[in-house]
């Protein structure tokens, strides 16, 4: 995400239209905070009486009230339905958030995940009662290993950044196992912020690799930087500029040449799934965001799931727990404790066994697509991005020449002299009915606009998006900066004052807030 474009209050004029007594605009309705809807005594559940026994709390009963509001079920329903209507979502329209892979979330996945045999099993039930769940984990692992061409997988990481941590932990454990105390992790300038943050959590110093003029890692610079102090490189491929790292095999050779490991950030795996196996590129570890490539819903910020595939060199250090198939058809076993054997797991990353609900969804998605459909996913994702790129290249400024992979990157030079910024373009897109692209990321491009349409957009949908973008850009170039400064005009809120929010943080409701308002 961004570290430019944090905005203060906008400057444009107020949106048109007569006031209403309620403040509502027909279907556009606010809902007060639940704490402002408190009807003391009201409750949205009915519970049975239960046994009449004396308490055994050891005198630790709560004394005062908690302060939670009371609402009956209809009020609760209406509150959240009204809230939901203030969100943009993939199911509403194009959500071209670069690097986030906002693709259609099939509802079959939801249906399968809610089967009681998956949703209503306790993580510590006897193994004999959860064989189907263990088999599902094993099968998901098989799909991930086959698609990536890697021999081992750890399913437990809870999200992409957690997967990065898993990968780097295994790398550090592998170095330490042979008494090698390396200090440095190399990360390209264009990397996701999670990469350097993860390396730091593993106790590594981070060194930044510059990009070359084509938007890729500068191989000569990299080769000059690698030495015996380097533990690993973390590289996203395709990278955050939406480009395939052409020299990736030479990068791997350079890294392996000094005894370091190659970590790949798999956030952009959607671009190559079924067409390229990371295992064929010399990668030692890569996380896979099931909530990107494999369509599990983003849910407004999670839950995600970030399984990590490993090369033979790192496989012995993969974390617990993991599933194995017992010999002689004796079913599946979950290894939960560090075994007394040749493997040396670095430890445990998470309570229980991982994001099972995401495994079910992802596997349903993979099985639906199959090997043929997944390859088509990558092809259509890349085609859609290039179609957008080619259709906008004459009015916007493409950051790097040539075709892209699954996302198209523009810089803000096409806005020079217009008084309109990348942020303004993003807000104008909202009024046109689209979610903005990723803005001001990657950091290597000035005023970046990163557009990832994904494969689940139709050509007609893209044509409409392209038409809107061309209209917005033409308007920006026509000298209508004031219009842009006021956008969005039609969203549930206009520009929000982020500076105020950070300067005087209000992070929770306080009863005094309500009293002061009354």
């Amino acid at each position: 995400m961004l570290n430019e474009g944090r905005q203060t209050r906008g400057t444009g004029t107020a949106a048109e239209g007569p006031d209403t007594w309620t403040g509502a605009r027909a279907l556009d309705q606010d809902t007060p905070l639940i704490f402002e809807q408190d009807s003391p005594g009201a409750c949205g559940v009915d519970l049975p009486d239960g046994p009449d026994v004396a308490n055994r709390l050891g005198g630790l009963e709560r004394k005062g009230a908690i302060g939670l509001p009371g609402l009956a079920e209809p009020e609760v329903m209406r509150h959240y339905v009204r809230l939901s209507r203030q969100n943009y979502a993939i199911d509403i329209g194009v959500y071209p958030l670069g690097s986030c892979t906002m693709k259609h979330n099939p509802r079959l996945n939801e249906k399968v995940a809610r089967m009681p045999g998956f949703s209503d099993i306790h993580p510590l039930q006897p193994e004999s009662t959860v064989q189907g769940a263990l088999e599902l984990m094993d099968r998901l692992g098989h799909w991930l290993k086959t698609l990536t061409g890697m021999p081992a997988v750890a399913l437990s990481p809870a999200a992409g950044a957690h997967g990065e941590l898993c990968g780097l932990m295994a790398i550090r454990a592998a170095h330490e196992a042979r008494g090698d105390a390396r200090k440095v992790v190399l990360v390209p300038e264009s990397a996701h912020g999670t990469n350097p943050a993860t390396a730091a959590m593993c106790g590594y110093a981070v060194k930044s690799i510059p990009a070359d003029e084509t938007g890729r890692v500068d191989l000569a610079a990299l080769e000059a930087m690698v030495d015996e102090d380097v533990a690993a490189i973390m590289l996203t491929n395709p990278n955050t500029c939406g480009l395939f790292e052409r020299d990736i095999i030479r990068v791997a050779e350079a890294v392996h040449g000094v005894g370091a490991y190659f970590y790949c950030d798999g956030a952009n795996f959607n671009a190559i799934v079924g067409r390229v196996r990371p295992g064929d590129l010399g990668i030692d570890a890569m996380h896979i965001n099931l909530h990107k490539t494999f369509s599990t819903p983003h849910g407004g910020g999670g839950p995600g799931s970030g399984p990590v595939v490993f090369s033979d060199a790192l496989a012995p250090f993969a974390p617990i727990p993991y599933v194995i198939e017992r010999k002689d058809g004796d079913g599946f076993h979950l290894v939960e404790h560090v075994p007394d054997s040749e493997v040396q797991p670095f430890g445990r990353m998470k309570g229980f066994h991982g994001q099972m609900g995401m495994f079910t969804r992802a596997l349903a998605y993979m099985m639906s697509h199959g090997s043929d459909g997944l390859r088509q996913v990558a092809e259509d994702a890349v085609l859609n991005a290039n179609y957008v790129r080619a259709s906008l290249a004459d009015v916007m400024s493409q950051a790097f020449d040539g075709p892209c992979m699954h996302e198209a990157l523009f810089d803000d030079s096409f806005l020079k002299g217009t008084g309109v910024s990348t942020l303004d373009i993003a807000k104008a897109m909202i009024d046109e009915g689209f979610h903005p692209m990723t803005m001001y990321f990657p950091l290597v491009v000035h005023g970046a606009l990163l557009i990832e349409p994904t494969e689940t957009e139709s050509k007609d949908g893209l044509d409409r998006f392209i038409g809107a973008m061309r209209h917005i850009v033409e308007r920006a170039k026509s000298g209508d900066a004031e219009h842009f400064a006021g956008a969005p005009y039609y969203a549930p809120r206009r520009r929000l004052d982020e500076t105020l929010a950070a300067r005087k943080p209000i992070l929770r409701f306080e009863p005094a807030m309500q009293d002061a308002a009354e």
Partner: protein
């Protein structure tokens, strides 16, 4: 393929617009040696019916906890989730939205997070809470690191009543740093003296309440001992329903509270996804990990919400961030928040009381079984039994009779003969008196 809208004709026209003759031209940056010409060795695409049938067969090979008497807890609890919760979290606008980085079109998620943060702060008795972590165990690890940053000290004391997974995840998170852990022995009797382990190097003491073994403890003296030594008290709660009845960690002097929020709104789901809760004192907020939602105004002066204080976070601070966390547990936080809103003050208190009384009645019933000793004196909805035989074996026997009897402590503490006969048993509002009778008579038979 039903999820792919492009037709062959679309693709032809689009390739022409792009100016290439085939899709392969767009993959020309891939080194020739790494291009896959054919398909990977996996099954071909399938229709909904086929996928549903195949995965349904796998689901059918699991025993759903709701289909039998079930008494498992140990950090994951089976509670009744009101129908409204699952309906609302499947609203497209919640389910298929991204992290609310564009606040003008994300007020639904943002206002929900603001309410969630307030609910978490209220039940934990703390001043502020964040917008969620992955789960309770990872939140616990983050709390240890935060306490070290705040105190600039590097020793963390872990109670022997802490869930072993929380202990292990914390261990992993400090494995390659300079922080070291002082881990107390497993404490089923509630006899440990944590205050004696505190010294001038101690950043924090991490204690779970009720403990992994189900024991409730008054933590006030421990809080005082921490504070006298300049250390912080981190309280872990794995069963948040307890907070409806028990004095809050904040009231007992906690500086940081982390919890597993699964009990409200989130199904057992074989262990995930769950939702980590993270709350602390206002003065410590700038060292907090994770996202925070804050109130502000828009250009027209209307109240609205944004993600804020992001200079703590990885997308701004990179290697200097308080954590690498990005995606958290948004939709599970929503489920938690909706369930909590349905309950409200009266409902949460009643639910907690019902859980507690159900567990007390069960403990009394089981105490009459020969070969069973109920170990806890003060507990919430879970307690430890000492059996006359190894617990894992008894649990296996009872599973064969269609009863999920509880969690053998040996499942989480391997190779500890002293703990082999201990069984954790939990009861919630989902357990009937008849369930308890079945468990008691099956135990009686198994222990004979």
């Amino acid at each position: 393929m039903r999820y792919l809208p492009l037709t062959p004709e679309d693709r032809r026209q689009m390739l022409a617009r792009v100016g290439v003759s085939s899709i392969d031209d767009l993959f020309e940056d891939v080194p020739a040696a790494a291009r896959l010409d054919g398909l990977v060795d996996l099954p071909l695409h399938q229709g909904e019916l086929a996928v549903e049938r195949e995965l349904g067969a796998l689901a059918a090979r699991n025993v759903a906890a709701g289909s039998v008497p079930s008494f498992l807890g140990a950090g994951a609890y089976r509670h009744h989730v009101p129908a409204t919760v699952d309906h609302l979290i499947q609203r497209s606008e919640f389910l298929t939205a991204y992290t609310p980085y564009q606040p003008e079109v994300s007020q639904g998620t943002l206002q929900m997070l603001f309410e969630f943060q307030t609910q978490v702060a209220l039940i934990t008795g703390m001043e502020v809470a964040n917008a969620s972590m992955y789960d309770g165990a990872t939140a616990c690890a983050e709390a240890a690191l935060m306490a070290c940053r705040l105190t600039r000290r590097e020793k963390v004391v872990l109670s022997g009543g802490l869930h072993p997974h929380y202990r292990d995840v914390t261990k992993t998170s400090v494995k390659f740093g300079s922080v070291h852990l002082d881990i107390a022995e497993p404490d089923p009797d509630g006899a440990e003296d944590l205050a004696a382990r505190i010294d001038g190097e101690t950043a924090c003491v991490i204690v779970q309440n009720p403990s992994f073994f189900g024991r409730l403890k008054d933590l006030r003296a421990l809080a005082d001992a921490c504070h006298a030594a300049g250390a912080l008290l981190v309280v872990v709660v794995t069963e948040v329903v307890s907070l409806g009845l028990v004095a809050s960690p904040g009231e007992m002097g906690a500086d940081i509270v982390v919890a597993e929020g699964q009990s409200l709104g989130v199904p057992l789901g074989f262990g995930g996804p769950y939702v980590g809760l993270f709350a602390c004192r206002q003065k410590h907020v700038r060292q907090m990990p994770g996202r925070l939602c804050g109130e502000t105004v828009d250009q027209d002066g209307r109240r609205g919400y944004v993600l804020t204080l992001s200079t703590r976070e990885q997308h701004i601070r990179r290697e200097k961030a308080t954590s690498n966390i990005c995606t958290n547990a948004g939709l599970c936080a929503l489920a938690f928040s909706i369930h909590m809103t349905l309950l409200g003050e009266a409902g949460l208190t009643e639910l907690a009381s019902l859980n507690h009384r159900t567990a007390v009645a069960l403990a009394d019933r089981l105490a009459r079984v020969p070969g069973v000793e109920v170990m806890a004196d003060a507990f919430f909805n879970e307690f430890t039994l000492r059996l006359a035989k190894p617990a894992a074996q008894v649990v296996e026997t009872l599973a064969g009779k269609g009863i999920l009897a509880g969690v053998p402590v040996s499942r989480l503490y391997a190779n500890r003969p002293a703990l082999e006969n201990l069984l954790l048993v939990a009861a919630t509002e989902c357990n009937t008196e008849a369930d308890g009778d079945r468990l008691a008579s099956a135990l009686e038979e198994a222990l004979r």
